[in-house]
């Protein structure tokens, strides 16, 4: 029996007395008796924190795929980047952790200013003027983006590259059940999108990705032209780390940028909470999903920050709202602002460069292995797909024995029959972040050489 309640039994009696009641049950007298649980919940009784810690020790010990146990070459939207102690410490300050949404700006300048700084950083990394205060994750940020495009164009057809992460595509498909959007998937050829294979006319949005989920970089001029031609919005799903060296979404002409912000200070966390990045042009601001913080002044003329354009928020617009997002991922956004300030201009560039260097160093050795062949001759950033003679899942199983989470099989992400790949079950996605050392890569390549045989 454990809880965090302050009331002593005398106080409970006094309080009930004040209310003219005699038992705690009396508080629920107006709840129909037939509905009330007579036996309480069928659940183990309360345990002390140390007892629960013991239960959790069983969970953790049953996880083989921790970073302490396996060296990580897996990615696909969840990356093993460095998170320095200073970022963890600042991001876990309890004023940030235990605050609510900053509805009262006078006592929430801490969160508000941090979000303002975050918005500035995401705006710069996306190359677009407006960034919101965060969305749930990359996948649902894309949902908001297509909804924005549909609302903006009054159309419902979405042309989406098959290079967009399969989970993101699937998520868009799920929510399209409500919005009625029609999805047209442009297939991959040679690892990059073949836009001409689909009919883009009447599209609300052209959705490209940079790099794509196989790791390859596509020239985005083509989809941009298609968007312009068709008066569709151009949505770019972009790896925000790539922005350390590669062109921004804005530079490619995007109207909307979405991305997964996990690499900025958030642990792998078994997939969540992550951070949905969202930025757009000024033209779209009235449809912006989620919150937006703006600079203003207080009554004494001092700079202050506040959530703004609230009129657009779902709690005011109700059924006319274009998004229902309320709670978002503020703490991850604050953490991203801290991590990006830690990295600074040159740090992000260094991280991105090192990713590209490591990936290339690994790639050249790996495609030379017996039993491995290239999937594409296109450039890549920090990950790439290769074909394996053995099923990729078998290869991964073997690599575990040598201490590696050796990547992800394409079929585990996209299913065994994804149209975009000749054979997902024999396609392995390999990621190399700035954390991977030459020795780790070399050992990994040696293990892979055995595993693919």
């Amino acid at each position: 029996m454990a809880d965090y309640l302050p009331h002593t039994s005398e106080e409970v009696v006094d309080m009930l007395d004040f209310l003219g009641l005699s038992t705690l049950d009396d508080l629920f007298a107006h709840v129909p008796a037939a509905l009330r649980l007579s036996q309480g919940l069928d659940m183990t009784p309360g345990l002390s924190e140390p007892d629960v810690a013991n239960i959790f020790a069983e969970y953790t010990s049953a996880n083989e795929a921790t970073l302490a146990k396996l060296v990580c070459f897996a990615g696909a939207g969840a990356y093993d980047h460095e998170v320095p102690a200073v970022v963890k410490m600042l991001g876990s300050r309890s004023e940030f952790v235990t605050a609510y949404t900053p509805y009262q700006p006078e006592v929430a300048q801490g969160i508000l200013q941090a979000i303002f700084e975050y918005q500035t950083m995401i705006s710069r990394l996306s190359g677009l003027p407006i960034a919101n205060a965060s969305l749930y994750d990359g996948a649902t940020a894309l949902v908001e983006a297509v909804n924005m495009a549909a609302g903006s164009t009054g159309r419902s057809k979405l042309v989406i590259s098959a290079g967009v992460h399969p989970h993101w595509r699937e998520t868009v498909r799920t929510f399209a059940q409500g919005t009625g959007h029609e999805l047209v998937i442009a297939p991959l050829v040679n690892g990059i999108t073949n836009w001409s294979a689909v009919d883009t006319s009447g599209a609300a949005a052209i959705v490209a990705t940079y790099p794509n989920y196989l790791g390859f970089l596509e020239d985005l001029s083509a989809p941009k032209s298609l968007a312009t031609e068709n008066e569709a919005l151009f949505i770019v799903c972009g790896d925000p780390v790539a922005a350390g060296i590669l062109k921004t979404a804005g530079q490619w002409g995007a109207d909307i940028y979405v991305g997964e912000g996990q690499p900025f200070g958030t642990a792998l966390s078994f997939g969540g909470p992550y951070l949905g990045l969202f930025a757009c042009t000024e033209a779209q601001i009235r449809r912006l999903p989620g919150r937006l913080v703006g600079e203003t002044v207080d009554t004494e003329g001092r700079r202050a920050f506040v959530t703004t354009l609230r009129a657009r928020e779902q709690d005011i617009r109700r059924e006319k709202a274009t998004s229902n997002v309320c709670t978002n991922q503020t703490l991850m956004a604050v953490t991203a602002a801290i991590q990006l300030s830690y990295l600074g201009t040159h740090g992000l560039r260094d991280v991105a460069t090192r990713c590209a260097q490591g990936a290339r160093y690994a790639y050249e050795q790996i495609v030379a292995l017996d039993g491995v062949s290239a999937v594409s001759d296109q450039p890549f950033f920090r990950e790439f797909a290769v074909s394996t003679a053995q099923p990729a899942d078998v290869v991964l199983e073997r690599l575990v024995v040598d201490g590696f989470l050796g990547g992800l099989s394409a079929n585990s992400l996209a299913g065994a029959t994804d149209s975009s790949l000749a054979d997902p079950t024999h396609t392995l996605l390999i990621t190399v972040t700035e954390k991977r050392t030459k020795i780790e890569i070399d050992t990994y390549v040696a293990a892979l050489a055995k595993a693919v045989k």
Binding site: L37, V52, A53, S61, E64, T66, E106, Q113, Y136, R318
Partner: protein
């Protein structure tokens, strides 16, 4: 020598030393300064030009802040001193359940045995995580009285939309085309927004003079085109819908489903269950009821639990216990598909499970009892100062009205709320629900002591006196806070959403 950058080592912006403003991190930036350190890798250092075709390279460098680690720490520590939080004091924000978040649950989530696991790793390597999810699902089903649940939705609103898509899938599987979803006028704004995104039309029904669903009005709008109804119970005025059984029967009769908005679940833990009331779909806000910290606006988690006949439509893949005792990802037969990039906000889920395990069934019941006790005590204690909008026993929160203050002293609910902040408490929720004039919605939660409630009541009594005697004082509040009242209109009129916009 240019010294335009702001000092990182000056604390004038910390409230500890007065209330100057804190420079932005960009204002503290000096080109060439840095914090970051990278490990030694010995990976060959190819140039960018060798690595990537120039068409892809950004000719410019994206500018970020360039600060020392010392200044980084000072800046964000000072920002934290400009932020109210549960850990600093009472936060009676109605509908938000700002209870104390046990640090133990944070420590669980800080364990690399959970948080360093890649979400794409094969199930064989993540059995601990899958088991945790299965255990949590089971417990959430017991709490809500439902048969199965998805843990994927990232927040309450995401849960709502997921629930509406489940409703749609259910009806469509029956070849049943339905058009409308009924919502009471007291509902939270996310409900109608979710309905729209779920592809339904909203039919709003008025609350009656008791603050409850008007059963007759409901019956009038029910029909074969009604997909379902969304309710919270206790509802957003903190009252229990006593006719819920009748409501459920009426909705079910026309083939509709009942959706339970779980934002107020804290009130009924272990006392009464949505499933037993007749609900078919329930979302929970783990960040409310199960005390996972709100993070200044997220992350949350909004699992959705459903009655058995809806289980086949749940999002997938779902962590599932197999016959051989191992765990794997299984896709429900007619799943609506994913609603999250991976498996949900896993670290939030872990925290919530830890919270549930510490409390157990008995502890969760006590949570509800004490939450309701506190709200009723406060309501009754304040009856002379701020009357309740509906004069009946409340559940975990009470909605009071300041309309008398507005009429008599031109002091609005917002003014009272702002002034309360200067007296050491966070403001209650104001102007929600929309059906109450000058609403002040207090949710003390079970973790505040009687002494805190009494002090808050006394503060409100003081403010009531001030509102009569010196209304300006209240209207101009707060002034002792890091910034005084903020010009919200200007922010919207003259939008400055980034440092770069500010510079222009």
């Amino acid at each position: 020598m240019t010294l335009k950058a702001q000092p990182g080592g000056r604390a004038s912006s910390a409230p500890l030393l007065g209330n100057g403003t804190e420079p932005t991190i960009f204002e503290m930036s000096v080109a060439g300064r840095s914090s970051h350190q990278l490990r030694t890798t010995h990976v060959p250092a190819m140039t960018l030009e060798e690595l990537v075709p120039s068409a892809h390279l950004n000719p410019d460098v994206v500018p970020l802040a360039e600060v020392s680690e010392r200044d980084l720490v000072a800046h964000f520590t000072r920002l934290s001193h400009r932020q109210f939080a549960v850990d600093l004091g009472a936060y009676p924000l109605g509908s938000c359940t700002m209870k104390y978040n046990p640090k133990f649950c944070d420590s669980v989530a800080a364990d690399p045995g959970l948080n360093s696991v890649h979400p794409g790793a094969p199930a064989a390597l993540t059995q601990g995580w899958l088991r945790l999810m299965v255990d949590l699902e089971e417990k959430l089903c017991e709490v809500t009285g439902m048969a199965a649940a998805t843990l994927q939705p990232s927040a309450g609103a995401a849960g709502e939309l997921t629930g509406l898509l489940l409703m749609r899938a259910y009806h469509e599987a029956r070849g049943d085309v339905r058009r409308r979803v009924i919502i009471p006028d007291s509902a939270h704004g996310t409900n109608p927004a979710s309905v729209t995104l779920g592809g339904y039309e909203v039919t709003t029904i008025p609350s009656d003079e008791r603050g409850l669903v008007d059963l007759d009005a409901l019956k009038k709008v029910l029909g074969p085109d009604v997909a379902g109804i969304m309710l919270t119970n206790p509802n957003t005025v903190g009252l229990f819908e006593e006719e819920i059984t009748e409501i459920a029967a009426a909705v079910h009769e026309v083939g509709g489903l009942l959706y339970y908005d779980g934002a107020n679940l804290n009130a009924i833990l272990g006392v009464v269950r949505p499933g037993d009331m007749g609900f078919d779909i329930v979302h929970m806000n783990l960040h409310k009821t199960f005390a996972t910290p709100h993070g200044g606006g997220g992350p949350g988690a909004g699992p959705v639990a459903v009655a058995a006949r809806l289980a086949e439509y749940l999002p997938g893949p779902k962590a599932t216990k197999l016959a051989d005792g191992t765990f794997d990802w299984v896709q429900p037969a007619n799943s609506i598909g994913r609603v999250h990039g991976w498996h949900g906000n896993a670290m939030v889920l872990a925290r919530a499970l830890a919270y549930i395990d510490v409390h157990g069934g008995d502890g969760l019941t006590r949570v509800a009892q004490h939450a309701v006790l506190n709200a009723n005590w406060l309501r009754h204690r304040l009856r002379e100062v701020l009357p309740a909008a509906f004069d009946r026993p409340c559940m975990h929160e009470c909605v009071l009205t300041a309309s008398a203050f507005k009429q008599q002293h031109s002091v609005k609910a917002l003014d009272l709320a702002k002034r309360l902040m200067e007296k050491g408490f966070h403001a209650p929720t104001v102007y929600f629900p929309l059906i109450v004039d000058e609403a002040l919605m207090f949710e003390p939660t079970e973790t505040e002591s009687l002494q805190t409630l009494e002090a808050m009541a006394q503060a409100l009594e003081e403010i009531a006196v001030e509102a009569a005697a010196t209304p300006e004082l209240v209207r101009n509040a707060p002034t002792a806070t890091p910034v005084s009242r903020v010009d919200e209109a200007r922010a919207a009129r003259q939008l400055i959403p980034t440092e770069d916009a500010a510079q222009r």
